[in-house]
């Protein structure tokens, strides 16, 4: 179907169980829709997204020779792809589908006013029907995928992702800012949950990476320029020492830039003596049979830990999140170090030993008579130096007593925070950051490894605070996404993009600067030069069209004609609709 014949519109109103039907009179919405211009069929149904609902749409398209479909249900964010596919299965171009959001925009936000909600639902459906009549068929386009992946960051996540992709038979370009691979983990001499050192875990993997003929490694190097779109990215890598730059065409990117350990200056006397250090610093101390304090090499007899240092602080910017790994790491470290000391005390808020085997470490620590003492959420321990000795004063919640401890060494379990470079990385790869400062996944539950920028994945602590075990799983998962793209060899792109009419373009460059996705450049092959849209990079946001002083830019699927039809439908309801509104 071309989308140019007389519109024959079908309207399908969804109950969404009780989600919509509990507030909106869906039967009335469907009845009203049936009387609108060009509508030849309208109904309501329990779940339009279910197999039953989808089958109904396909059947009615055939039965009534529908050439436009309007589904009034939930947000198009989740189900637009579902219904577009249903239309295609029935032989209709996917862009002849239109979705009305009766759930997020109506029933959920007007839950306590069902009549007004129903009236609004009818308005929205009428507007969408008017727009649907003017929808046009658009082509379904694909682009090729370069069979090579760029992995940014060479910690355990980057190493694992690289190995998986290469083992599967695709090429990898692995870029690490530091002079050697291994990230934070390689410096750690005490890991949890195993007794290995970071180097023991990582070295076999690093050797495999180094000897893999499909992996090209750049250490002491940075990605300095990045451009392109899904399947067709171009990255420029600069080696810091030589300044040499190399260019790489890649089809996908995995960002595994990890975390940095928060340096808690101003917290609990950090750095007032070398004997107050962070958990990461403890994990980096050389392995030895005895625990000696950094200041004078004396044996540590009394050891203390304080948890949640710079984590779980609502109101303090960037550190509201839980750093996830510290409770379990502290439990393991305390259990291990108890035998080398006379007393180990852990001051905590909650004990979050959640993972497999973690609770067991917590129990092991307690069974070795490590003392756990809970401090109040709002009244944190105070640390001072008294006669050169570390002195902690706090209120023990369980005993309801004020306590004092003078440990030889104090370990602060400080937060896992995004590295200082996160902002730069975010800009380079068009990633967004969540309130914890780490990168945002596409969907926090069902798409935790992909991002809003198609073709760019995140894994490990780049996404949120995580332990090494979890980072490794993330990495393999992200690798699966990259390989999925490369194995298919091509990927569909959206046709709902900006289009420049070269005859109207005045070469003013307004759109070039307005475009947040760098999707518009000037076509210098023409005289005078005119704006040119790289469709695969365009997100269809319309910023350029709004800014164009010559009206030369048209948004496909959101044309001026289509939008004005909606405005007109809202302002000038047909008589039947007016009656419903007046009731």
């Amino acid at each position: 179907m071309t989308g140019t014949e007389e519109p024959r519109i079908g309207v399908f109103v969804c109950h969404c169980g009780h989600n919509i039907a509990g507030t909106v009179d869906v039967a009335k919405v469907a009845q009203t829709a049936a009387g609108l211009p060009n509508v030849v069929f309208a109904t309501d149904e329990m779940f339009m997204c279910s197999d039953n609902g989808q089958q109904l749409i396909r059947e009615k398209i055939k039965e009534h020779r529908l050439n436009r479909v309007v589904v009034a249900s939930c947000s198009p964010r989740m189900h637009e792809p579902t219904f577009r596919r249903v239309c295609e299965e029935a032989g209709l171009n996917r862009y002849l589908f239109e979705q009305v959001n009766l759930r997020e925009h109506v029933s959920w936000c007007h839950m306590r006013e069902p009549e007004a909600a129903t009236a609004k639902a009818i308005d929205l459906v009428r507007m969408s029907v008017a727009r649907a009549a003017r929808l046009e068929t658009l082509p379904v386009k694909t682009v090729q995928v370069t069979p090579r992946t760029l992995v940014v960051g060479g910690g355990i996540a980057g190493i694992t992702a690289s190995l998986d992709i290469a083992d599967r038979g695709f090429e990898v370009v692995l870029v690490e800012r530091q002079p050697r691979l291994g990230g934070n983990l390689i410096n750690w001499t005490h890991l949890f949950p195993t007794d290995e050192t970071g180097a023991e875990v990582l070295e076999p993997l690093i050797n495999r990476v180094r000897n893999h003929d499909k992996i090209k490694i750049f250490t002491d190097a940075e990605v300095v320029a990045f451009d392109g779109y899904i399947g067709n990215f171009q990255a420029t890598v600069r080696e810091t020492k030589t300044g040499r730059e190399s260019h790489h065409d890649v089809g996908a990117v995995i960002v595994t830039t990890g975390f940095q350990s928060f340096k808690p200056h101003g917290y609990y006397g950090y750095k007032i003596t070398p004997d107050i250090l962070t958990l990461a610093e403890l994990q980096e101390m050389p392995r030895s049979k005895e625990l000696r304090r950094p200041s004078d090499g004396q044996l540590v007899k009394k050891l203390a830990f304080i948890g949640c240092v710079g984590s779980r602080e609502p109101g303090v910017k960037g550190h509201e999140h839980c750093s996830r790994h510290c409770c379990s790491a502290v439990a393991k470290a305390a259990a291990d170090l108890r035998a080398r000391t006379e007393e180990v005390v852990i001051l905590y808020q909650d004990v979050r030993t959640y993972g497999k085997g973690h609770e067991e470490f917590h129990r092991l620590a307690r069974s070795r008579r490590v003392i756990y003492s809970k401090f109040p959420e709002r009244d944190k321990p105070k640390v001072t130096l008294e006669d050169g000795r570390i002195t902690i004063r706090w209120h023990d919640v369980l005993a309801d007593e004020d306590l004092i401890l003078q440990p030889d060494m104090l370990v602060l379990a400080s937060a896992m925070v995004p590295p200082d470079t996160a902002d730069e990385v975010a800009k380079l790869f068009s990633l967004t950051r969540s309130s914890d400062g780490f990168f945002n996944p596409e969907h926090i539950k069902l798409a935790p490894l992909t991002t809003h920028t198609a073709g760019i994945m995140i894994a490990g602590a780049a996404q949120a605070a995580k332990n090494a075990h979890e980072a490794a799983i993330d990495a393999s998962g992200a690798a699966a996404k990259a390989v999925g793209l490369m194995a298919r060899g091509e990927v569909e792109i959206e046709s709902t993009v900006a289009h420049v009419n070269p005859d109207l373009c005045s070469s003013c460059h307004t759109c070039v600067t307005a475009c947040p996705y760098h999707a518009i450049s000037m076509d210098t092959s023409r005289t005078p030069e005119v704006a040119l849209v790289t469709e695969a990079k365009c997100h269809g946001c319309g910023t350029c069209a709004a800014g164009c002083p010559s009206g030369a830019i048209m948004m496909r699927h959101s044309t001026t004609d289509q939008i004005l039809a909606m405005v007109e439908a809202y302002l000038c309801p047909p008589p039947a609709a007016q009656e419903v509104r007046a009731q």
């Binding site: 779940f47 039953n52 999140h321 539950k445 075990h469």
Partner: protein, 436 residues
């Protein structure tokens, strides 16, 4: 749909919950074939029965349903629902798997899911999908978005009146159907068998099964679910009244050595908080208290969600173990004594609804699957992995991988991630034709 020459190669995924579905999709998207074996009549697993999901409160069915149809419609995925793995022979690269396809007495190819049969069926029985709170017929689909949308007959409940058979216009109902044995050749296997909830009646002091207004979190999920037995109206089971003072009890069947569940179940704190928030959403007047041991809000956005529950939704959190519950005979409210650990005070409290939040355990049948595959299990019953860092989704049998809760409790994002990771490892085996 792929140019990969190895597209004839295939993998087996055991379990059609959110982890198994993700694994299947990520293998299939590379052009390999996937056999997805699911014990129940529909894929979807536990997530299909949940109401909202933490920490962003999306409605579970709303985000899961597109996945269900994506899996069902993927040309490279073959769904074997109502089926169980019987035996596995061979090794990585060439496993031979025997699967029993249980008779559903409805022909999958002929059934259109119209539901005429079910409307005609005179037998009504409690629906397991609604935790027995709602009803289904003897010929049924468990929930409206069931995938595949094919009915099945519960022969233990069926009275053989055969009215369904007479009604079905497509002649899909076959009472003579028998179990079928299917032989599959696969290169790699992924175990995604999920979990079961701890049986809270093992704590007699909490009164579950004795007092009507003591319910489990899963029953609560169905009660607040818009597609559930009460259409999302939260009521007390004793009298149908709207509860005004609800208690949530955390860590039941978790972190308890005496009950054989020494580990943390990882999801209960967050689903407990989510349910508490939903109670306030349903009724802003209701008083809501969560009794906890530690609040383990460790994942992305979790601490922020916990903070929001306290500040924006006004949920009351009490650190303390709950003692014995008793029922007030006049109003069926529950009376319990609780020590508030933070204040050291023991007080007697009355709630009109108590929701117990059970921990997770390995599912029924995981031992059988583990034996068939020769997999090692840890003392708590979950599968062991080869190496926590270098091989976190590999089991000790080459070519067999684990994801979701098969190797330990996980929330949805971690299950989905592990599903993708297991798929990655499986496809490496498929690409090279065995263990490299």
């Amino acid at each position: 749909m792929t140019k990969d020459k190895t597209s004839q190669k295939s993998a087996l995924v055991i379990g059609g919950g959110v982890a198994g579905m993700q694994a299947s999709l990520d293998i299939a998207s590379q052009g390999y074939r996937v056999y997805l074996v699911e014990k129940q009549t529909s894929i979807g697993g536990r997530m299909a029965a949940l109401d909202k999901t933490f920490p962003t409160l999306d409605c579970s069915a709303c985000i899961l349903t597109p996945r269900l149809s994506e899996v069902a419609r993927h040309p490279n995925i073959e769904l074997l629902t109502y089926s169980e793995v019987e035996s596995v022979k061979g090794k990585a690269g060439k496993f031979r798997v025997t699967v029993r396809r249980k008779a559903r007495y409805v022909d999958e190819d002929k059934c259109s899911g119209c539901g005429d049969c079910s409307r005609e069926c005179p037998v009504e029985v409690p629906n397991e999908f609604d935790e027995g709170l709602g009803f289904r017929k003897a010929i049924y689909i468990p929930f409206p978005q069931a995938t595949p949308n094919v009915y099945a007959i519960d022969r233990e409940r069926c009275i053989q009146c055969k009215r369904c058979q007479k009604t079905c216009e497509r002649g899909a109902i076959d009472f003579e159907m028998t179990d079928q044995i299917v032989e599959l050749q696969v290169g790699a296997i992924i175990v995604a068998t999920g979990y079961k909830l701890f049986d809270v009646s093992q704590y007699p002091r909490l009164g579950y099964g004795k007092y009507t207004n003591v319910i489990t979190a899963m029953e609560y999920e169905r009660l607040i679910n818009a597609a559930g037995p009460t259409q999302g109206h939260l009521i007390r089971l004793s009298d149908g009244r709207v509860p005004k003072n609800i208690a949530f009890i955390q860590c039941v069947g978790a972190r308890d050595v005496a009950k054989g569940v020494p580990y943390c179940s990882r999801v209960c704190c967050m689903y407990g908080i989510k349910n508490a928030v939903m109670a306030r959403e349903h009724d802003p007047e209701a008083r809501v208290t969560v009794y906890y041991a530690d609040i383990r809000a460790f994942g992305k956005g979790f601490e922020e969600f916990y903070e929001m529950a306290k500040t924006r939704f006004g949920v009351d959190f009490v650190k303390g173990r709950v003692g014995e519950l008793s029922e007030n005979p006049h109003n069926q409210n529950l009376v319990m004594s609780v020590e508030n650990i933070l204040t050291g005070k023991v007080s007697e409290r009355e709630h009109d609804l108590v929701v117990i939040c059970p921990g997770l355990q390995p599912p029924e049948g995981l031992d059988t699957i583990a034996n068939a595959l020769g997999l090692e299990r840890s003392i708590d019953g979950y599968l062991n992995v080869e190496d926590r860092f270098a091989a976190p989704v590999e089991t000790l049998v080459p070519g067999v991988f684990t994801c979701g809760c098969a190797d330990g409790p996980k929330d949805i994002p971690d299950s989905v991630t592990a599903g993708s990771a297991a798929a990655m490892k499986a496809t490496i085996i498929l690409a090279v034709g065995g263990v490299a």
